[in-house]
């Protein structure tokens, strides 16, 4: 037989459980839109019979009431891990696509303002000189167009080098962000370990931990593994970034090598790797291709000029000085010094000017080199854009999958609210009923007939 008052304590325990359930539901509702919040559930359990009581004394129903056994955090660790790896890839591809499209933005093609059209105009102006080699207006136009071309190449080279600088700055910023996140994670690991040892609820710390891990994936494609006590161990490119409460420092070494705690890391992913690749490969490549255009322009023009004779009949000299896009400039200031004639003697022969007017189609000339570069750039940008779009949708779908287990559903929480409210009401009713029963026993026993 159970004790006379056990019904009261049982009801109290049920009331407490229901109230705790309401608390957790309230917490879920208030954090429905908090980023990184994982929904929680009050875990209720029956209290079993007290241990160590000989079965002959134990009552069949004694002590079977509800108590709070814990608060679960309802995320899916497997999906979380997948989400982190997709985020690392997404960070890489999005950053690459945005760097490439910044390079693309430097070339206004195809249009009537691009470098291709400026080249066309330049070669065309030579044809006017060929038709009338003595016309100083036509020669002046050639000089103006040459200066325009050189200026355009200089400007584009400058923009490219600014882009490289900006990317370098971004790399520094990203490294700082990674280091901050790693330091925070190490501190968090400490708090989590302490809480786990003392058995306290550390769900909110775990939410913070997962947010930081996601951040590190986006930034650096870092690999995380979760230990039994909830702390996270993070590696970056095979090197330990955060282990227990120690965080290593990420820095950028010579040649844009990622160093973790001073040791070169393998290729990882995320924004960091994309910036490193841009600085080491993409930007130098496009800079070299632009230089090749400038070099082709200078060498074809200059060798034709060197073989010709100017208006006074003297041998021609180079029209462009400098062989890179940044340094190319017009070396001739006197329009009569342009070599249009193929023979000495100061005649009005236009054969050199005539052949130069056809250089737009020259194999290995500036135009072809430029077209090849634009073609490659266009293909690269289009491919990077497609990859980024696909990866974005993969990432979104994984995020949605993670949200489907971790996200707060207000409908569900409202239903829980009703459930716990009803449970509280019913437990109160049990309490009242037991009380009334005891009242009958205490106040009315033996007073029959009075």
């Amino acid at each position: 037989m159970s004790g006379s008052f056990s019904g009261l304590t049982d009801a109290l325990s049920a009331l407490n459980s229901a109230r705790y359930g309401l608390d957790v539901t309230g917490q879920n509702i208030s954090n429905a839109n908090t980023p990184g919040y994982v929904r929680q559930r009050a875990e209720l359990a029956e209290t079993g019979p007290a241990g160590g009581v000989p079965s002959m004394y134990a009552t069949p129903n004694s002590g079977n009431t509800a108590t709070v056994s814990g608060t679960s955090r309802l995320n899916d660790p497997v999906v979380d891990m997948r989400a982190r790896s997709e985020h690392g890839r997404n960070g890489y591809l999005q950053t690459s696509a945005s760097t490439l499209s910044a390079v693309e933005g430097l070339y206004d093609e195809p249009s009537s303002n691009g470098l291709a059209e400026k080249l066309n105009t330049f070669w065309q102006s030579w044809a006017a000189v060929a038709n009338n080699p003595g016309d100083s207006a036509a020669r002046n136009v050639v000089l103006q167009n040459a200066a325009g071309l050189a200026g355009d190449l200089n400007e584009t080279a400058l923009s490219l080098s600014r882009l490289t600088q900006g990317t370098g700055q971004q790399l520094t910023d990203t490294t700082d962000q990674i280091n901050t996140a790693a330091t925070q994670l190490a501190q968090l690991n400490n708090a989590i370990a302490v809480n786990a040892a003392s058995g306290s609820n550390n769900n909110s710390l775990l939410d913070q931990r997962d947010t930081l891990l996601m951040n590190l994936s986006d930034l650096a494609g870092a690999q995380a593994s979760i230990q039994a006590n909830g702390t996270a161990t993070v590696t970056l490119g095979g090197q330990s970034l955060v282990s227990s409460t120690t965080a290593s420092t990420v820095s950028i070494g010579a040649g844009n090598v990622v160093l973790v705690g001073g040791t070169p890391a393998a290729t990882a992913g995320g924004k960091l790797q994309s910036l490193v690749d841009s600085l080491n490969t993409t930007l130098p490549n496009y800079s070299a291709q632009l230089d090749a255009v400038a070099a082709a322009l200078a060498s074809t023009t200059n060798s034709a000029q060197n073989a010709g004779y100017d208006l006074a009949g003297n041998p021609g000299g180079p029209l462009f000085s400098g062989t890179t896009a940044a340094t190319i400039s017009v070396a001739v200031t006197d329009p009569t010094k342009l070599a249009a004639s193929g023979t000495p003697g100061g005649n009005l022969d236009g054969s050199v000017a005539l052949s130069m007017s056809g250089y737009g189609n020259l194999a290995g000339g500036a135009d072809r080199t430029y077209q090849t570069m634009i073609g490659q750039l266009a293909t690269d940008v289009a491919r990077a854009g497609q990859q980024a779009t696909v990866q974005q949708s993969v990432t979104t779908s994984v995020d949605n999958l993670a949200q489907s287990s971790a996200g707060v559903s207000l409908d569900e929480e409202t239903t829980n609210l009703l459930t716990y409210q009803r449970a509280y009401q019913a437990s109160s009713r049990v309490l009242t009923t037991v009380d009334e029963t005891l009242d009958t026993l205490i106040s009315h026993t033996g007073r029959v007939g009075l």
Partner: protein, 292 residues
């Protein structure tokens, strides 16, 4: 799969952004009138467009060159025309002088004066210029092909115009071939004729033969110039057709099909509006609406 408000919201937001960006892309195409607004819109198309533009620019240059060449040849033709008719007159004078013979020196002297005048007029015709350049002077930088004494001061350079991809035309023949070499050229011959009329009419017969030979050379060069004129015209008309084709290819490649784009914009707009309306309706539904 469990559906939560936040996952629905995220998916809705992502789709709305997709719709909006599709609409923005189409609007950019509409407002710029171009399918290819940046190279990555169509990588192969961009390269083709660049090549077409370069070809088009060259085709335009060929047309300008053709026009210049036609102007040059017109000047040559009209100069040759006047030269030929002047030479006809000189020939008549020489024949008259031969008929008169030694009988009437006064008359022959008058004929000689007319020949001198014809020589001066022919000298100015042989110095005919196009855009400041003597057309019979080769590539000379000077302003005349023949000086006042009638000797050739031009050079033997060729004046070439490229009028098509593989069509370059030499506009001139060496003036020494048509007018004769210095010392025995047309003007030396004319001086000789005037001299013979005055002093040695007997020599006029051989002068006439030389004059006829010179006239033949000039007529044949005139017909050569005419043939060049015709050839350039043919090439020019082909180049103009080619230029039109290039323009239309370029337009096909980079310009939008207006009707198609308008339809696309309309359908993208409708899709976007539908998505917005649905979001507004569905987003409001919650269990809260149905509980007391």
């Amino acid at each position: 799969m469990r559906v939560t408000e936040s996952s629905t919201n995220r998916a809705t937001l992502a789709n709305l952004q997709l719709d909006a960006s599709r609409l923005a892309d189409l609007q950019e195409q509409m407002s710029s009138g171009r399918q290819i607004t940046k190279p990555s819109d169509n990588p192969t198309g961009t390269v083709t467009a660049l090549q077409l533009r370069s070809q088009l620019s060259q085709a335009k240059q060929f047309q300008a060159n053709s026009n210049d060449a036609l102007g040059w040849l017109t000047t040559v033709d009209s100069a040759y025309g006047s030269i030929t008719s002047q030479l006809e007159q000189v020939r008549t004078l020489v024949v008259q002088g031969m008929n008169t013979g030694t009988g009437n020196p006064a008359s022959n002297s008058a004929l000689a004066q007319q020949v001198d005048q014809a020589r001066a007029s022919l000298l100015s015709l042989a110095n005919a210029s196009y855009q400041g350049r003597p057309v019979f002077g080769g590539t000379t930088a000077g302003s005349v092909a023949f000086d006042t004494s009638g000797s050739y001061v031009g050079d033997s350079g060729t004046v070439t115009r490229t009028v098509g991809a593989n069509a370059s035309v030499d506009l001139n023949t060496p003036a020494t071939a048509t007018f004769g070499a210095n010392g025995s050229n047309l003007f030396d011959l004319l001086s000789g004729i005037a001299n013979d009329l005055r002093t040695n009419p007997a020599n006029l017969g051989s002068d006439l033969t030389q004059l006829d030979a010179r006239q033949l050379a000039i007529t044949s060069d005139r017909s050569l110039a005419g043939a060049k004129y015709q050839r350039i015209q043919t090439v020019q008309s082909a180049a103009s057709t080619n230029s039109l084709q290039l323009t239309s290819q370029l337009s096909d490649l980079q310009d939008i099909d207006l009707a198609e784009t308008v339809v696309q914009v309309t359908s993208a707009n409708t899709a976007y509006q539908a998505a917005l309306a649905t979001t507004a309706k569905v987003g409001q539904i919650s269990l809260m609406d149905f509980l007391r």
